[in-house]
Amino acid sequence: MHIKDHPVLGPQLQDPVTIYFNDQPYMAYKQQTVAAALIANGVKKFGLSRKLVQSRGLFCSRGRCCSCYMTVNGEDHVRTCMIRVEEGMEIYPNLEDPEVRGDGHGD
């Protein structure tokens, strides 16, 4: 949930934007990170681990653990706790390793 009126800091969320997760629209606010905005909308599962295929989501929120990797505007493995939302942002979960050896990626 978005905190509309913070007990100490008051109302802080002012500039709403629409972001897309798996092509579904969600409401977020400009100063929020991608990870936080998704959590506000009830999305916690951001991807799957590479070996055991287990769910992963935000853990450290400091850009250290890399558990919040997602694909943002076509770029794979973005630390979503470190970048802020932008209008129309397209976000997909990190379900497998990016294709780096196929056509268009050199070899």
Binding site: R50, Q54, C65, H77
Partner: protein, 109 residues
Amino acid sequence: MDKTTIICRCEEINCEEIEEAIGHDARTFDDIKRLTRCGMGPCQAKICISLVADVIHEQTGSHLHEIPLPRMRMPISPIKLETLATNSTTFSSVKSVMDEVELEEGKVR
């Protein structure tokens, strides 16, 4: 600790695998890394470093100050190869691997 508990989130190495490496005489983080890939994922041991030290401490009785730090290589956090390789300007050799390979005029010696 429960044997199935994940210690390294990135490479998904559990407590049992760390203990097995210690059973093969691994005594430092880097020993365990070489045997299991623990700490070799995207976070580069930032989360598991202290957890591994705790397991070594529990298993061997070594004091935490006797368990050295792992190597912390460049880049300190993930960076796009495009940024690192294409858009780097006027640099000398990379220090973190200088005792392993010498990068000189684009050649690896």
